[in-house]
Each structure stands twice: as structure tokens, then as C-alpha cells.
């Protein structure tokens, strides 16, 4: 059964989109990630224009982050103050990101930059995940105790001025790295259509030394607002949010996520992470191949002025 996507301006098989949404939702539930960094490349592989894939991906992340954020809000496992400071940076970053996005689109380099950024991020994150999980598996086989990194010595981050106390997170830290982190993630959200949790969570743990119990809730809190903001701004500047595509992905995604969570609880952490790492690397590799293979036609036509 085909369905016409009004903004992407093409007909797609609805079951392919449902399958994509459900599969990514399942993975995001299993691994506790937003899934934006998988949805956007998959849409691009399925010939959805990257402009639409990115804007629609941001919209889809709103839906997939909401239920998680509600849970954390109920349990009180989120730092509102820290989240708000991150959010200020995030909104500024998203604004700058959209401006860069529109500029790249006018220059005809948007598709390239989106692909390149995905190759770099997916390659790095996938590679690190795989290495870390393989090491963990080796240690487990040799029955060595898993050594957690001690949140010990103060790094350069703690010597910056404008310090602020975050009671919930029990940290006393300069707002500069917090705003900067939010800003960076905001740019990624608007250019790549991701929530950015896969960078935000490790950065909060290792850089800001935020306790792990509030990290995910706080990150989801900021992701919802930044992706919501990005969706609205993409809709008003690039007219590229495809609500039909987004809705199919959301519905399939949130259902898939529920089953993913159940499966995820039964499997072992290292193996899961190794699996996700491999998947992330595979998606990155597929994008990289598309960049180097000689295109079927080196010419392309774009109609209209765009802004």
C-alpha cells in the first residue's frame, strides 16, 4: 500500500515506513536512545530528501522522548535547573544550526554536510561503543571486576568562572561548559535531526560529572524542548517537516519502543552495546560508501529560489 508524502513529494510504501519506525523504536527502547541518529539515515536511504528527513526526524524524536521524560519527571530523577541551563544553550544552538542549515541548502551543500556529519558521528560513536563493549566482555570472561571510572580529580572544566550550584546533581560547576554543551547539541539537532542523547549522556557523565541517576532524565528534558523548537523553526523556515511521515514513524516508534524495553531488560549490557555499536557503524559505512561511489548522474536540478 503506497501513501503520498505531501512535503517529501513522493509516494512510499507505508509498511516500509512503519517497519523502519518500529525497528528503530524497538532499538531505542532496548538501548535507551532516542533513535533520531538511526531514523534520519534510514529515511535518506529510502530516497526521502535529506532536508525533509532531518526536519521530520527532529519531530519524531519529540514523540520518542516524551514517555521517557514523563517517567523521569514522576520519579524526580531530573535536574530542572541544570536542564534549563542546558536548554538555554540548546535553543541558541538550534537557532544558529537552522541558519547554517538554510545557508548550506542555498549553496547546494546541505546533503553532503548532513552525510559527512553522520559518517563522522556514527563512525566515532559506533567505534567507541564497540571497543568499550568488547573490552567489557573480555574482562567478564577473565572474571576481572569491572572498574568504574572514579569521578575523582578536578579537570579544566572546574576551573572556569561563573560557577553555579546544582543541588539535585550535587555539583558546583561553571555554567560555561553547560551552556556550551547545550549549544553544540542544539546545532546537531537542527542539522542532523537527532536528539543528541548519544553525545549528551556521556558528556554529562564524564565532563560535567553529573550523577548517572539524573543524567538521562535531564538530557531527555532538554531534548524534548530543543527538538520541539527545531521542528517549529524548520517548519517556518524550510517548510520541510512532513507531518504524514512523522506521524507514521511516531506511532510505529512508540509501540516498537515498548517491546524494545522488555527485550532490553533480559539481555546483557555489553552484548547489547556491542550489537548497537555494530549497527551504528554499519549505517555510517553505508553513508560513507554513498559519498565515494560515482553517482548515477553528476548533475541535479533544483527548481525555485529557496528563501
Amino acid at each position: 500500500m503506497t501513501i503520498y508524502l505531501p512535503i517529501a513529494e513522493l509516494s512510499v510504501n507505508i509498511f516500509v515506513i512503519l517497519g523502519m519506525g518500529a525497528a528503530v523504536g524497538f532499538l531505542s527502547g532496548m538501548f535507551g536512545v532516542g533513535g533520531g541518529f538511526l531514523i534520519t539515515p534510514l529515511l535518506i536511504f529510502y530516497n526521502i530528501p535529506p532536508v525533509v528527513a532531518v526536519a521530520t526526524g527532529a519531530n519524531q524524536v519529540v514523540a520518542s522522548s516524551v514517555s521517557g521524560a514523563i517517567t523521569h519527571f514522576r520519579r524526580g530523577t531530573l535536574d530542572l535547573k541544570l536542564g534549563t541551563i542546558l536548554l538555554i544553550g540548546g535553543l541558541a544552538g538550534a537557532t544558529v544550526g537552522i541558519w547554517i542549515f538554510s545557508l548550506l541548502r542555498r549553496l547546494g551543500q546541505l546533503d553532503l554536510i548532513i552525510s559527512l556529519m553522520y559518517v563522522v558521528f556514527l563512525g566515532t560513536v559506533g567505534g567507541l561503543m564497540l571497543m568499550e563493549s568488547v573490552n567489557a566482555m573480555r574482562r567478564a570472561r577473565r572474571n576481572e571486576p569491572v572498574t568504574l571510572r572514579k569521578p575523582g580529580q578536578h579537570s579544566w572544566v572546574h576551573r572556569l568562572p561563573l560557577k553555579m550550584r546544582f543541588k539535585k546533581s550535587t555539583i558546583y560547576i561553571s555554567v560555561i561548559p553547560v551552556v556550551a554543551l547545550g549549544f553544540g547539541i542544539g546545532i546537531l539537532t537542527s542539522i542532523m535531526g537527532v536528539g543528541g542523547g548519544f553525545i549528551m549522556v556521556p558528556a554529562m557523565i564524564y565532563l560535567l560529572r553529573v550523577p548517572t541517576n539524573v543524567v538521562v532524565g535531564t538530557s531527555l528534558f532538554q531534548i524534548i524542548f530543543v527538538t520541539a523548537y527545531t521542528t517549529v523553526v524548520q517548519a517556518t523556515t524550510n517548510y520541510s517537516v512532513d507531518i504524514v511521515l512523522a506521524f507514521i514513524l511516531m506511532v510505529a516508534g512508540v509501540i516498537g519502543a515498548q517491546y524494545g524495553v522488555r527485550v532490553g531488560q533480559k539481555l546483557r549490557g555489553e552484548q547489547l552495546r556491542a550489537l548497537l555499536g555494530l549497527l551504528v557503524l554499519a549505517v555510517g559505512l553505508r553513508l560513507a560508501i554513498a559519498l565515494v561511489v560515482t553517482p548515477a548522474d553528476v548533475y541535479s536540478v533544483v527548481v525555485g529560489g529557496m528563501n
Binding site: 514523540a63 547546494g108 507531518i243 506521524f247 512508540v254 515498548q258 560515482t294 541535479s300
Partner: protein
Amino acid sequence: MRRLLPALFALLFAALPAAAQMPMLGDSIEQRERLQIGVSTTEIAITSDFAGADLTVFGSVDYADELLMAIGQYDVIVALEGPKDIATVRKKERLFGIWVNRRSMTFEHVPESYAISSTRAVDSIAVDTALNDRGVGIAHLPLIPIGFVGNAANLGEFRDAYRRLKTGSGLYARDTAGVRFVSPSLFRASLRLPANIPNGVHTVHAYLFKSGVFVADKQLLLRVVKTGLEQAITDAAHERPFLYGVFAVFLALVTGWGASVIFKKN
């Protein structure tokens, strides 16, 4: 589109008495040929499942030289030109191993779609200069670059690429046998409306050539209106983008929240 077929015979026959009333002032005064065309509608409504169709245009050639007509010296070309806009052609080149859009050229005021039908191949109807003057035929549409055109030698390659890509996508189409005379003065042209036909005001433009020389032309406006839910969504996205964006976010919030409520009960 077959509804369009029982077209404007009324219009044609209205033109005939005018011919009959012409005073016969002698052979020395030559009446110039006149071209008339018509379609049964000025508006075509298409839905999102539109898979393409044929548009039939009827027309007549009045005051034609019967002898020349009999030996096929008259040729009719009918073109359906879509709304005009600028178009940018980009060319990828290899840079450090990856393919990057390196060069581009923007053409001003080109039709988004262009379907042309003629009594025979356009290039055998008239010489290139005659066709270029009027911009008749896919190969003769004026493609004028905007701004700085680095190396002029590239112009041809970008124009060729534009025509090839547009033809490949079905937006530009030609039918070299699409116009047929059904009587010595009456002709019927069928034009291909592609599935991805753009919304907006199109122009039906008919040209009459006699022995390779342009003698008359006629234009008609035809509005293409897309209807249905999908078009309503497109319109909302372009006309009320802020509300559209807010609604998209609202939909996401409700979906995410709804799922967490439904699955909690199970």
C-alpha cells in the same frame, strides 16, 4: 481527462460563418491564416493519486491555402507550459575522493513542466533559428543563466543536463505525432500531463507554421489545482508554517504521552 474530449466544436463552428462572410475581393488580396484553439475546461483538478493523463486540445486553421494544406505544408505545434520559476543545475565533481557539488548554473524563468506535441518532429518543421526565436521545442526553450557564468563553454553542458534531467523525470515531454488533422482545417492535439505536474497556471500555446515559416499562434490559460488531504497539508505547511509546526509538535507530544498511558495499563 476524457471529459475534455468533447471539446469546443461549438467554438470552431462559431468561427466558420466568419470565414463564409468574407468578402471575395479577388485573389490578389491574401487573407492571413488564423489559428484557433480550445479546451473544454479552464481548470483541471487533480488528486494526489493522479497517475498522469492526456489533455486534448482542439483547434482550427482558418484561411489556409487549400493546396498547401493538401500537400502537408502546414504544421501545428501545441505546447503546454507549466508555471515559470528559476531552476538551478548543479554538477558534482570528485574532491578528496568524495562527490561534491562543485559547479552550478541558475536559469531564469523556465517552465517547471513542458509538454509539446506536433504534426512531425519539431526540428523538421522549421530551422533552428525560427524555433529558437519563439522558444518552441524542448531543445529550443530559452535557458538564460542568471549572474556570473564563469566559463561560457560550460553553458551548453549545463543546458543539456537540464533538458536531459527534466525529460527523464517526465516533466518535459515531446510527442512528434501528437497533433493530427481530422479535417482539412481541424486538428486535434494530445498533450501528456505527467503525474508530478506542478500546481498553478499553465499555458497552452499553439503555433502554426507554413512551409517552415511561422505564421500564427494562440494562447490559452489552464489552471491546474491539486485537491485532497495531501494538498491541504502542503498548503498548510506553506501558508501557516508556524501553526503547522506547533501542530506537528503537539501531535508528537500526544503520541508519546498516549503510548506511555496505554502501555502502562497492560
